[in-house]
């Protein structure tokens, strides 16, 4: 286990300061971090799928956890960005006479399903699973 320094940054998210060991962590706390920062074991930070949603981490006292409404919003944005790029890719493939692996109707249905799954998610594992079919479809449709 290693100790890290955490604090709520000006964006309202959690910053995690990882000391290199050149200086004692108390010195790093005073030199590199704002007032109110605290030292915790890194093992107490969100793990697994929760770790993927770093921008949804919130600090309450000395406990960091995932704020699900924020995580849902971020995952929705991620899905939309993936879908936007893939829409251009699908159009480009069609434009040069190549067939997309998934039909337009099935692609639209998959997106709708993914959006619904994201909205209904209560855990980060469900959020990850919600976009997995879209990621697989994009991979399968690559040139």
């Amino acid at each position: 286990m290693s100790k890290v320094i955490i604090y709520t940054n000006t964006s309202g998210n959690v910053s995690v300061c990882v000391p290199t060991g050149e200086l004692p962590i108390e010195t790093v706390l005073a030199k590199d971090c704002p007032s109110g920062s605290i030292i915790v074991e890194d093992s107490t930070l969100p793990q697994g799928d929760d770790a993927l949603f770093f921008d949804a981490w919130k600090l309450n006292g000395s406990t960091v956890s995932v704020d699900m409404p924020t995580a849902i919003a971020h995952q929705t944005t991620k899905l939309n960005q993936m879908a936007y790029s893939e829409a251009q890719h699908r159009s480009a493939k069609a434009g040069i006479g190549l067939t997309n692996v998934m039909s337009d109707a099935d692609w639209t249905t998959a997106l709708t399903t993914a959006r619904s799954a994201i909205t209904a998610s209560t855990t980060t594992a469900e959020l990850v699973s919600a976009i997995a079919p879209i990621q697989s479809a994009i991979t399968a449709n690559a040139l």
Binding site: I5, N9, S11, N13, S15, V16, C17, V18, P19, T20, G21, E22, L23, T27, V28, K31, D32, C33, A51, F54, D55, T77, N80, Q81, M82, Y84, S85, E86, Q88, H89, Q135, I138, T139, A142
Partner: protein, 136 residues
Amino acid sequence: MTTTLNAVTSTGLVQTSDGSGVIKVQSNGVTTNALAWVNFTGSSATINANYNVSSVTRNSIGNYTINFTNAMTNANYAWAISYALPSPSANNNASSAIANNGNTTSSLNILMQRQTASSGTTFDTDYVVTCSIFGN
């Protein structure tokens, strides 16, 4: 304190130290060696190796602050960063960029950014990120 490394007047190659422990090899008054460097894993900011870096702070996905153990003499230093681009299969139109989000004598804030047709977005990488600082 100035310690002569190689007293060849024609090249002016000298080794200096301000007492902080940071060695500067200078040629005609210009420092030629890295004043700080770090190698860390992007997704966790786990430090793999470093010199004159006290910490790396992960502020958001793709946003890191590299804090120097001993401050630079001024903020006009050069920085070089490398990292591996994640698989493009997840975003076929992606290209990558690294932005200086603000540098001071004591730290450098960087953004690892993936540009898409729709919007720019920051991202983390499980691959190693390296950063080197050169200056006087």
